[in-house]
Symmetry: D2
Subunit: 343 residues, 4 copies
């Protein structure tokens, strides 16, 4: 049994991680920390866990966490970087579900996250935890930077096109729509039911923190600089991301459906739908899959890729568990084989 | 492995049963029938099942079904009764998720369901599938009538009070609220998103088919006739039932919290919350639990019981699987141990 | 033109009041105050008001407010009572949309609202602003206590029965369901979309502040003490209250439909639906009507009354405007004749 | 008073038209037809109209309709074209809210709508009812083709750029999101609450009927052929369209904010938001406004235009009323000055 610790865990990413860990057959949650909720049984905060998880929040303690094989950080940005070096030195492996180690360039990180990075020397060593790209590196990694939700949906949608150099990469467009849980469990006016329900809007059009993360991944896939316009939207639902991706084809003769099916044929969690499909976010609700469809409307030179995930699963906690499975040599879908909840 | 057949399965009860069966370790789905969808792979209709269930709908065929150990009927009312006698004769055990065998009195059944019963002689032999009452009978049953969604939530909430004779049983009130999936997957104007969303209403106040079913169960528990006012409401959400139950206490000194905890202490799927709690429907979303809280506002003589279930799980498919587990001597929570999806 | 001031106005009650005032032909909004938002144009906070209302929030100032004919308080409980005496002395009439003047007994008020009342001598002088009871008094009032949302729906539903002494008044039950806007615009975890959507729960079952307000009103109508169990529920929608009321009939022969139609026949905003109806909250969305239906299920001795309002209109801002119309001798439906938004 | 007839009126476009007509001071609804609902009082179908509209559906009758000054068709596609010639001959003016007269080329119409056009000779004579382009023509028109919902939002967003030739017009992208009411009130599985709620998906990516309509309008504005990729999405809410538009700038120095403010400065129903804004669909819920914001993320050469409308108002019934006002020389905002319902 892998001894697991969770730092944070009072947010949506945290409770989702707990839901998945409760069903994971080869790990054991030994500690979960929350400074503000220390002493509170986890199931008192999240009643869905009653009868499944008999553990209370405790004050974060490096010594206690050092007894774990793996520690997940489900904390706000800027927390993991203050504790990770000590844990790594203690031989603990770490998966950070926040953004502290997602960008390789410290100046870019500091610009977008508006703070100084506490341990910039770890940025290059951290492995970006998108198994569909970095599986081998993840298996060996001490520190995994779990990807953001938008970046997961967008990168999986664009990758085959960029890896093959099939599109004009200077003007990629990612029009992404997210459920409200992507904004977290913190009480803010904008995410109240009465503000976000029966409403639809774009936000952060001038610039969103996931833009540099997506761009970094796409550039690695393309092998050169790319141009990306990324527009996120808030959608009146709890879970789900739908990325609608646009690019201009350089080669009109390539069979894109076959390309995607080949690229993802062995991937346990990427499902390329039959030609002509329209994936629904609910088809992955609570599940770790990314479902993708490829279109060329009116057989023109614009390719449209539709990519859906559950932002809390493949976009956060599920992908973290997938990374754990890879890191510890388990079946990659261990604890992740549940069927999406529909309706 | 238990060989399982499903008749019907294109509705919400059906897809939920398929979701649960896909994760059930000791059964094997060998046939699923739908006259209208024969030939269609199940996962083409319900994309959440892609990769989990590789079977297509077939035309209902008694011979094929007779090779099963157990057949579930997830059909509209009035279908199961036309096939059940043949299956029982063939030695197949049956769980009907519809209402064909829920009432013991044929005249009452015919009055409320507006049709003639095709095999009234089976009404007395069918076992009402509420394990919290009939566990021993279910274990031996050839034919189980799976309870309705409202009846499950309301009976589990009232049972301890009536079994102990603690309330004035002539004026029980059950004010129940259901998500829209209780109305099924049939296209009707009233259940369109634009009609049922951002809206709340009572319906069927003059009389709902679940009234006689609830009354029958409560009378058996009480040992005498009872009076019940049952008002169902349509709630703008997909899943969940919240029953708010009112009764006048005859004995003001009894510790109701202790009573409920004792009554349900050994029940794997009934969770009595701590005193003062307010159960939320989302705490059981996708899970087979019923969570209950008991209140006596201002220490008066009115008891208020709050009881929540997921109408598609404990109120339908989950309870059916629980009954299967009981019938075949499996662990009662086999395939039913998943954590509710929250948020 | 009536010169109107609004104190508060950054919450849902406030923006609804502004929406209605913008369309009111015989009043003029001359000042709107908010300490926290002073200087901000109202339409910058509420973009629906762009082009309709060209005024900015200002710091509350008694002198400025004293130049108004009428001041509305759309503030949290406990604010109006600190300013009302000065305004009344200055000859300004006041409608308080909060609870400061709703209860006649100061000790009861202080018990339920958990603070000392700043001007208890005004409690008896304030007129409870339910025009269906107090129209004549409201017309003359200097200070009107605008009723709460639940109290409006529940009282209008019960009044005819209690005024005529037709029910056993010791065990009245009000099972009420509210949209989330009733909780206000303050950022709290419980009213986040991800907490309140796809969820249903009761709250405050041990005791809600609207209980004493409802009880006070019903006792005045009945002419004697009554017993009431009031259970509010949070419903996953923005607007609307549905009250389901239960009582035991003392006189089974009375024509209740005729009684209600007679009682409310001249009321511009109470609509008694035809026998057998089920009112929907959306039928009053954005409108000032209360729609009511009366049932006697199975012709038993339990009467069920269904009463719906928009909690922000008839339950708050619309009723306040109705009171203003009554106070200033205008047509009672001036500015309130809009059709509910459906769908 | 303008004598108005409505053909159809049992759908969402119809009830919205009735809501607006009920408040319109200079028109009188004299007949409303529905073959299926003949005899039914309108307010029995739509309870929000109780007390506002005392008229019943009648069987469509050309003679009766010929007594009107204006007839609105709120019918499915293909109905208006069978009656319009007779009405026009009788001197009645017509506004068709369906698509029968929106395309100028009959072959294109027949291809996209899959039926033969009953009166192709009227296609060229019909005026496309987008007042922001065709105000003068509409004023004189006998037959107005009221634009589709997506075409209104997309055209108003793109027009200034195309009229000025500022963007590469061969690869325009319109990523549009619509509330479910755009699909109408017909009972279909895909628009059930349990299918469309808590879900997001694209649809009709290979080709949607609004594509040729948008393309025709944009080409007229540009003065030459354009290339457009149009991807509509179904959003889990009742009302609202959000169009996110992408184009590559040819001229990076032009002040786009000033351009839009100048283009729409005199338009009563197009509101250009301050630079940096993100319009919300709820800011126009129930109102006839289109609100627009213009962005150039990271000062690159991609322009992003955000355009929101209420699909049932500016996207259908409200625009129809606006057209009526223009046709009959009334104030253009007569009956359309209500404030959007927020929250």
């Amino acid at each position: 049994m892998i001894k697991v610790g969770v730092v944070g865990g009072t947010g949506y990413t945290g409770v989702e991680l707990l839901r998945l860990l409760a069903a994971h057959p080869e790990s054991e949650l030994t500690v979960i920390t929350s400074r503000s909720e220390a002493g509170l049984p986890v199931a008192d905060m999240f009643p869905n866990l009653r009868g499944h998880l008999d553990i209370a929040f405790s004050v974060p303690d490096i010594e206690q966490l050092s007894a774990c094989d793996l520690v997940f950080f489900a904390t706000p940005n800027g927390t993991a970087m203050t504790m990770v070096p000590q844990l790594l030195e203690a031989g603990v492996r770490v998966i950070d579900l926040a953004a502290d180690f997602r960008l390789q360039q410290v100046d870019e990180w500091q610009q977008w996250y508006g703070m100084e990075h506490a341990c910039p020397e770890y940025l290059q060593q951290a492995v970006y935890g998108l198994p569909e790209i970095n599986r081998a590196l993840i298996a060996q990694a001490a520190l995994v930077a779990n990807p953001g939700c938008y970046p997961t949906a967008v990168q999986l949608g664009f990758l085959p096109l960029l890896e093959e150099g099939l599109v004009e990469s200077g003007h990629l467009i990612a029009d992404a729509k997210s459920g409200v849980s992507g904004a977290g469990r913190k009480a803010t006016t904008g995410t109240l039911l009465c503000e976000a329900s029966e409403n639809f809007k774009a936000y952060a059009v001038p610039g969103h923190r996931h833009l540099p993360e997506i761009r970094q991944g796409l550039q690695l896939a393309a092998g050169h600089a790319i141009g990306l316009t990324f527009v996120p939207h808030l959608t009146p639902m709890i879970r789900g991301i739908h990325a609608t991706l646009y690019a201009q084809l350089l080669d009109a003769d390539r069979d894109l459906q076959a390309l995607y099916e080949a690229r993802y044929g062995d991937e346990p969690f990427v499902d390329v739908l039959p030609a002509g499909s329209h994936p629904e976010t609910r088809s992955v609700r609570g599940a770790n899959h990314c479902r993708i469809a490829i279109h060329r409307p009116q057989q023109g030179d614009t390719v449209v890729v539709l990519s859906v995930i559950d932002n809390l699963v493949k976009g956060a906690a599920g992908q973290a568990l997938q990374n754990m499975n890879v890191m510890f040599g388990l079946d990659e879908d261990s604890g992740l084989s549940n069927v999406a909840l529909l309706p």
